[in-house]
């Protein structure tokens, strides 16, 4: 007979196998980090610049610049660029955050000789034509209106404003007036200042071939695109504002979106890694305290999660969910009750083991394969950290004790420090 009520034996996931990255420099000094590996002949190349919203200072400038670079260059129209990218089965990705902006190329390795010159043009010679600007502006303005109907978005925007203050680069949220005020000249100047070889970094992941370094040098290694700028991004200290209740009213909302947030620490802070364990236990996975209580026991929500986020100069700890509008107060009470439990009771061995093992497995998932690894590596930029950060995380997960978790909860899960932001009713 099979002993179906007894779990099979298992082994602890141990020893991270992180593919060794290689560093080299292009002739003009651009650092390139290469993560070779994978099963398919594909490659992902990130071209990263300090061209985020912090450097741009005004909302929208960074994201518009980044997007419109691919919409026409001195040598190619927007349509010609799209034709080339599509014809060779490639994908272009862009993203902008507070401190960085990037252009990402996903391609079959064999087509890099055809595709890299297109990327070169996009990065070095965008024209920012009025037509393309207008098309994109009207799309983004419409998106803004649609997003403003979503309680989740409303609560997110408000949470950044109350936490960092509307004048702080981390708290500056785009408003309708910013769309009206945006000028093409802003984008041109920003591109000129921030997208230069002095500031560029490249991350390559996937299967490259022997000619790859030469190709990269041919299109990006020259002296034709430097401007001697340094990355000066000034981020003032964040004044601690006492927590409170903030309601963004939306009368026709059926559910209310909740964000309960406080300032946290950055990835460079010694508490960051231990806080990742506390966060997982609290609301960071399906078996978390918040999910067990608000979803699996009370059925108040489809999902609830907690998060810790680190920007370069400040961090954030928070909880996010959408709940039945009439049960919003109960939900807030329960979130704080779960914090109080973590502050007053040590977690059981059984639960701690589960969280630890889940996190070790998750770490393997997050570092599995060259693409995932390159994302993980990119997340460390700006922090003066190496990929060894993840080995440290592994050790933290293995060694942290229930008592240490309780101490962290006492230190950070302080009710009065949290802002409760509600969008809806």
């Amino acid at each position: 007979m099979l002993a179906r009520n007894t779990a099979p034996s298992f082994v602890l996931p141990a020893g991270l196998s992180i593919i060794d990255g290689k560093e080299f420099k292009l002739n003009n000094g651009i650092p390139v980090h290469v993560i070779n590996g994978g099963t398919q002949d594909v490659v992902k190349i990130d071209f990263i610049f300090p061209a985020g919203s912090v450097q741009a200072q005004k909302p929208l400038v960074a994201s518009f610049t980044n997007h419109l670079m691919q919409e026409g260059t001195v040598g190619m129209t927007s349509a010609e660029i799209s034709e080339k990218i599509d014809y060779y089965g490639a994908f272009l990705g862009q993203s902008v955050n507070y401190h960085h902006a990037q252009i990402t190329l996903y391609a079959l390795t064999k087509y890099l000789p055809e595709l890299l010159p297109v990327i070169e043009d996009i990065i070095k010679k965008p024209t920012f034509s009025k037509h393309e600007f207008d098309v994109y502006l009207s799309k983004k303005r419409q998106d803004f209106h649609v997003d403003s109907e979503k309680v989740k978005v409303l609560s997110h925007r408000e949470s950044l404003e109350v936490l960092f203050g509307e004048d702080h680069p981390y708290g500056k949220v785009a408003k309708l007036k910013h769309y009206d005020a945006l000028k093409i000249s802003d984008l041109k100047e920003f591109h000129k200042a921030q997208y230069s070889s002095d500031l560029c970094r490249i991350i390559v992941a996937g299967k490259t071939n022997s000619d790859f370094n030469n190709l990269l040098n041919q299109y990006f290694g020259g002296d034709d695109w430097h401007n001697n700028t340094e990355d000066v991004s000034v981020v003032p200290d964040v004044p601690a504002i006492k927590g409170g209740l903030h309601i963004v009213k939306k009368d026709n909302a059926i559910q209310s979106a909740l964000r309960i947030v406080r300032l946290g620490v950055t990835k460079s802070h010694p508490d960051f890694l231990p806080l990742m364990v506390l966060n997982t236990l609290f609301g960071g996975y399906f078996g978390s305290r918040l999910m067990a209580n608000l979803r699996e026991e009370k059925g108040l929500t489809y999902g609830i999660s907690s998060f810790i986020t680190s920007f370069v100069k400040a961090g954030m700890i928070g909880v996010s969910t959408e709940v039945l509008a009439e049960k919003r107060e109960l939900a807030v009470e329960e979130v704080f009750a779960e914090m109080e439990k973590l502050r007053s009771e040590v977690v059981s061995d059984e639960e701690l083991t589960r969280v630890k093992n889940y996190m070790l497995g998750d770490l393997m998932r997050n570092l599995d394969g060259p693409f995932a690894l390159s994302e993980a590596y990119r997340g460390l930029l700006g922090f003066d950290l190496t990929i060894g950060f993840f080995n440290e995380l592994e050790q933290t997960i293995i060694n942290i004790t229930a008592e240490e978790i309780k101490e962290l909860a006492v230190k950070y899960l302080v009710k009065d420090d949290f802002h409760v932001v509600v969008a809806g009713k």
Binding site: L2, R4, N5, A7, P8, F10, V11, L12, P13, S17, G38, T39, Q40, D41, S78, A79, S82, E83, I85, D86, Y87, Y88, G89, A90, F91, Y106, V135, S138, K139, R141, Q142, D143, H145, V146, S148, E149, K150, N252, I254, Q255, Y285, F286, G287, E296, K298, G299, T301, Y302, E322, L324, R354, V355, N357, Y358, L360, G361, D362, R365, D368, G369
Partner: protein, 418 residues
């Protein structure tokens, strides 16, 4: 090329194994051949509600998630109109834990009233979060019953009405389980750092003694051929107008499927595609516009969906779509453009084969369609599509009498104009 080994157990369970030594992990995907199309019209949303209940504990194991988390695993599931799919990933050395968990819930669920009561509430909140509390969220609730009159694709997976979820009882749950959840109605695929024959041994060990069950025979009503255009107009508190136009098309197993997929690619795959270049960038009638196929196993839908620019009317925007349709019906797609969409398909397929979990899901679905091995012939099927095929398909499918359209109008835009 994805190398696989296939096995069938005596109770009818099918197993597909693919070894990928580049990962330290493994994935288990369990596909049940039951979806929203198998629901009673008065009890819609049940397949999806049931998916939630599959995490509420099984006959011998009180919690599904906890033992899996304890060995470093993670999991989730999804339900479509055609099927219900459960998947997990874990360190490859702990594969057996995953098989133990999946086999016990295939054997028998712990049918608990408490779990049912809570999951009903959770699903109702999901319904609100996704469909009622989002701008344009109710589009699928409006469009499906317009396009389908008798076929069960007329209701979305979440269900036609919240009431159906509220009224679900434990007897329904039990009946659903025993008529659909069975080894002879399931496909297990395992991928990652595993040895195929060892996997087979473990699957036999844990799934081998689960009895075959009498699976409810599928008898879906045939959707009558649509004779005239259907139009629905709604006004909502949204910032701008949206247009949706759907056309009936063939199912996933039909010979024309790949042709129609390529037709949608010519129109709308990538920034260089016709609809984007001409109607979004050129005429600026839409801020966003896509054409896509539903990918359903039974006869599905070919859809155009677009957000109308603030300065354009929905009617002139629609007219421009009909002009594009007329062109592709009358003029052969040129060799260059055809090659472009074929290249894109090939690269998309290549990228989809990077991740071991993706491969597990895809293999199970190809097996459901016919043979898992066909995954390796997919690219050839696209390659062999000709410009003539595309033109012929467009002429058959993209005709007015086959169209159902939804004008989803913004109240505030109307006020601005008036």
């Amino acid at each position: 090329m994805i190398e696989i080994k296939k096995y069938t157990l005596e109770n009818g369970l099918k197993l597909i194994v693919h070894q990928d030594k580049t990962t330290p992990l493994a994935a288990i995907n369990v596909l049940y051949d039951v979806g929203a199309k198998d629901e009673d019209e008065e009890k819609t949303g049940f397949a999806h509600l049931f998916e939630h209940l599959m995490f509420g504990g099984s006959a011998n194991i009180p919690s599904y998630d906890e033992p899996l988390q304890k060995v470093g695993g993670d999991n989730n599931a999804w339900t479509s109109n055609d099927l219900t799919n459960y998947y997990l990933t874990l360190p490859a050395a702990n594969l057996e834990t995953g098989l133990w968990l999946e086999s016990d819930r295939m054997l028998e669920l712990d049918f608990s009233q408490e779990s049912l009561d809570v999951q009903k509430k959770v699903v109702i909140e999901e319904y609100k979060q996704r469909y009622l509390n989002q701008p344009y969220g109710d589009v699928p609730l409006l469009l499906r019953p317009l396009a389908y009159k008798v076929h069960p694709y007329k209701w979305p997976t979440i269900g036609a009405d919240i009431k159906h979820i509220e009224e679900a009882n434990l007897d329904d749950v039990k009946q659903f389980f025993y008529s659909h959840y069975a080894p002879n109605n399931a496909i297990v695929s395992v991928t990652g750092n595993v040895e195929p024959d060892e996997v087979y041994g473990l699957v036999k060990k844990w799934f081998g003694d689960i009895p075959s069950r009498q699976v409810k025979k599928r008898q879906l009503p045939t959707e009558p051929v649509q004779k005239e255009m259907r139009i629905k107009k709604v006004e909502r508190d949204v910032p701008s107008d949206m247009l949706q136009m759907t056309f009936h098309m063939c199912g996933r197993r039909d010979a024309e499927y790949h042709t129609l997929d390529m037709l949608s690619d010519v129109l709308s795959n990538g920034a260089s595609s016709r609809l984007y270049q001409r109607l979004v960038k050129g005429k600026k009638l839409f801020t966003d516009l896509h054409a896509y196929i539903s990918g359903d196993i039974e006869n599905g839908l070919f859809t155009f969906a677009g957000n109308i620019s603030d300065h354009a009317t929905i009617y002139e925007a629609e007219e421009a779509i009909w002009e594009e349709i007329a062109e592709i019906k009358n003029v052969l797609v040129e060799e260059y453009e055809l090659q472009k969409v074929k290249n894109k398909v090939e690269s998309t397929l290549t990228f989809s084969e990077i991740n071991f979990l993706n491969k597990a899901m895809n293999l199970a679905q190809f097996e459901l369609l016919g043979r898992a091995e066909d995954i390796n012939h997919e690219v050839d099927k696209y390659r062999s599509v000709t410009a003539e095929d595309i033109k012929a398909c467009a002429n058959r499918v993209l005709v007015e009498s086959n169209c159902s359209k939804l004008y989803y109008l913004s109240i505030s835009k109307k006020e601005k104009i008036c």
